[in-house]
């Protein structure tokens, strides 16, 4: 009886975790893969894995960084498996960079400003695509998910100094890409 009640409470808690963080996990995975279907699948896998391990989550880090850590590991596993399964079709559903940059909201800009902004967003996408896996993860967690260095360190399992170094290199690459294309 007590066990059943505890389980019900845990399920209720987890429902609110899903409601609070699903969108963020999905957004991070979407930015990492540029593939809506893959991002959805990995988000489901991430939440499923989190649900299975929810009772063992001790709250040493925030729920978000814990979920991000699971998502990052699932993504790594996905690419590793894909590389191993070389006989499989290698085509992905990732959209190209121009299509990804089309999503920029128009805001209150002139057509020319909008065009310029889209172009720059495409350059950022291009730079992000050419980053190493770690640099890309750190960059997206910092500038898309707006996590601070400590949270990124917790989510990636790297030290804060390493995170900062990766972030600095990623920024240099984005800066170079924007400078070259202007």
């Amino acid at each position: 009886m007590i066990n059943a009640t505890a389980e019900a409470i845990a399920t209720q808690e987890f429902d609110s975790v899903v409601a609070d963080h699903r969108a963020q996990i999905f957004r991070f995975l979407l930015a990492s893969t540029r593939d809506v279907d893959l991002a959805e699948t990995l988000t489901q896998d991430c939440l499923l894995k989190a649900h299975r391990n929810w009772t063992s989550f001790r709250g040493e880090s925030s729920v978000l960084t814990w979920l991000m850590r699971i998502a990052i590991n699932l993504q790594k596993d996905h690419w590793r498996n894909r590389r191993l399964q070389f006989w499989r079709q290698t085509r992905t559903n990732a959209v190209d960079l121009d299509e990804a940059s089309e999503w920029l909201p128009s805001g209150e800009r002139s057509a020319e400003q909008r065009m310029l902004a889209k172009e720059r967003v495409a350059h950022v996408w291009s730079a992000v695509e050419n980053l190493s896996e770690r640099q890309r993860t750190v960059f997206l967690l910092r500038y898309v998910e707006e996590l601070d260095l400590k949270e990124i360190a917790e989510a990636t399992g790297m030290g804060e100094g390493t995170v900062k170094a990766h972030l600095s290199r990623a920024l240099a690459r984005v800066r170079r890409e924007l400078g070259e294309k202007q």
Binding site: F26, L30, W103, L104, R120, V121, V144, D148, K164, L178
Partner: protein
């Protein structure tokens, strides 16, 4: 003298990394585009597509069906071959038996005939003994 001192437009973030306004704007726009794309993808109606997984039930059924079919056919063929083999062996055994029987009969007949001959030869009636001695003499002279 650091870069911030060189360029007053550089903005240091709370991570200690400096971003010039253009870069900050470009990254801000990048985030906005990811947000918009993600929101759109999250709110789109989801298509329920049957996952392209292996239909093990169907494959198992087919495999079992094939196994039963092959088993039945090969079992029938094997049984037929076995029956033919038994029939051949039976026929060969019967033929051997017949041959042995015929040989035995022939031998028995030959023995019987030989016995009759010898009995006839030995038991000459006393009344015919002079003729028998004559025959012996003729045989002795070569006539």
């Amino acid at each position: 003298m650091n870069r911030r001192d060189e360029d007053p437009k550089l903005v240091r973030g709370n991570d200690g990394l400096e971003l010039e306004p253009e870069l900050r704007e470009a990254i801000g726009n990048f985030k906005s585009s990811v947000d918009a794309w993600s929101d759109n993808a999250m709110s789109r109606p989801r298509e329920v597509i049957e996952p392209a997984r292996t239909n093990w039930v169907r494959i198992t059924r087919w495999a079992l069906g094939c196994a039963v079919f092959i088993g039945t056919v090969s079992g029938g063929v094997y049984e037929n071959q076995r029956q033919q083999g038994i029939a051949k062996a039976e026929a060969a055994r019967f033929a051997d038996q017949q041959r042995e029987l015929a040989a035995e009969r022939a031998k028995e007949e030959a023995d019987l005939m030989a016995k009759v001959d010898s009995d006839i030869a030995r038991e000459v009636p006393s009344a015919l003994e002079p003729m028998a001695s004559l025959m012996d003499e003729n045989q002795g002279t070569g006539n």
